[in-house]
Amino acid sequence: MLVYVPARTWGTRAAAAALLLVVAYFGYSIAGNANFGWAVVWQYLFDARVLSGLSLTVWLTAVTMVIGVVLGTIFAIMAMSRNVVISTVAKAYIWFFRGTPVLVQLIFWYNLGALFPEIFVGIPLTAWGVSLPTNDLISPITAAVLGLGLNEGAYMSEIIRSGLLAVEPGQRQAAISLGMTGRKALWRIVLPQAMPIIIPPTGNQTIGMLKTSSLVSVIALSDLLYSVQTIYSRNFQTIPLLIVACLWYLVATTVLSWIQSRIERHFARSRNASK
């Protein structure tokens, strides 16, 4: 009777021990350091203003990502169209919104009233309709959703396009040879198989958006970062309040990563099902 003994992994153990020491040292020097203001962190962690900032950040991330995915899907399909006009429109959109800083886009939407004082709602080139003051139509929140959503759509369309291109062309041909129209083949056969490729970078984008959305502080929207900024501008507890914001960003990122792994598992079903 042989007893099999796996090779010992001394290197791993030594590294783990060393790491533990480093972590303990840093943990002690941070937790035990009064300058970090842990009491203040704790005091503001569940502050009503911080929580309402957090909820705006989460809401903005969700809404702009939904817009981004919808626009991204539409523009990805347009960019792959055989119709030159349609694909050029999509490429121009992607070129413009990826080519300009999102911060500038936000400010632009927020100040749209300075460029177009009134917006005409009705049938173009006729008198049928009404002119409305732009500043009534574009509130800071609309400007934020427009700015972030349109920008996200450009990035998402490239992600979705790469997913669609990764599906073997034979899949579409088989669907078409069975009598499906191009559109049906896209929705029922190609897109579902592009999902495993699209999801990881989309998760990345969502997590990125969580933090990019903090740019809305320039148009006076009190998201998570802006709300802690307003608090520390009065009590000067800058570092503790930034730690509060970071802790919440970390919590939100953790939750999003968990959701992403669940979605990935769902779409990976057909790959490693073992029936």
Partner: protein
């Protein structure tokens, strides 16, 4: 059943089909053989309008494929009508092209439900009969990547049959298979042939062409060089080019 009349096509400047004519009668099994690049697969793909033809015409069951003729103009049909024509022309690919995110059963019911509008229950009932017919009753709920190449190709044949096609086009159906799996696919095709299915088969399996096919068409350089009964073409070819090709593959 299939009438190919003086069809020509080129990819850019390269002519791939030159004035090809061929008529396949109902229940006939015809195989297209020839060196690679001879236009066999392109001809097959023109029959269900996966490729556009540039002159001539192709008709299946009396219906012009892909175009509507008015006077001396042929107008390409709208996508929906072409899709309707394709629904009755089965196609089996070299690489199977089973839908990777669907089980064998789901692959077979997909088009009957979403193209023909058959109820799910009816489609599944018929699909399980078809899968049993190709010897895969126990693999209904397997995903393609869990199946061998031969099994995948048999699912693909069942998927084509589920649309109750008038003809089935086979594009090198055994070329991507390990040698020991070729037989099981050819057996299914042989059974289809004896059931009277009209089939057009691009193949390199000379023994299959000889045993099962009613006629063999030898193509080279975008032309049908000769076409006739298997014994004539394979054993007593009229053209030197056919003889040269056969001596290389046999």
């Amino acid at each position: 059943m299939i009438v190919v009349d003086r069809v020509s096509k080129s990819f850019g400047k390269l002519p791939v089909l030159r004035d090809v004519s061929l008529a396949v009668s109902p229940g006939e099994v015809i195989s297209l053989i020839g060196p690679s690049g001879s236009g066999k697969s392109t001809l097959l793909r023109c029959v269900n309008h996966l490729e556009r033809i540039e002159s001539g015409s192709i008709a299946v069951d009396g219906e012009l494929i892909g175009y509507r003729r008015v006077g001396n103009h042929a107008y390409e049909l709208p996508e929906k009508l072409i899709a309707r024509q394709r629904a009755r022309i089965g196609m089996v690919f070299q690489n199977f092209n089973l839908f990777g995110h669907k089980t064998a059963l789901e692959n077979v019911v997909e088009a009957p439900i979403h193209v023909l509008g058959v109820s799910r229950r009816e489609a599944e009932e018929r699909a399980s009969q078809l899968l049993a017919r190709v010897g895969l009753a126990d693999k209904m709920h397997s995903y393609p990547r869990m199946l061998s190449g031969g099994q995948q190709q048999r699912v693909a044949i069942a998927r084509a049959l589920a649309m109750q096609p008038k003809v089935i086009l086979f594009d090198e159906p055994t070329s991507a298979l390990d040698p020991e799996l070729v037989g099981e696919v050819l057996d299914v095709m042989r059974a289809l042939a004896s059931d009277g299915m009209t089939m057009m088969v691009v193949t390199h399996e000379m023994s299959f062409a000889r045993e099962v096919c009613h006629r063999i068409a030898f193509m080279e350089g975008g032309r049908i060089v000769e076409c006739g009964k298997p014994a004539e073409v394979l054993d007593n070819p009229a053209f030197e080019r056919t003889r040269a090709f056969l001596s290389r593959v046999q």
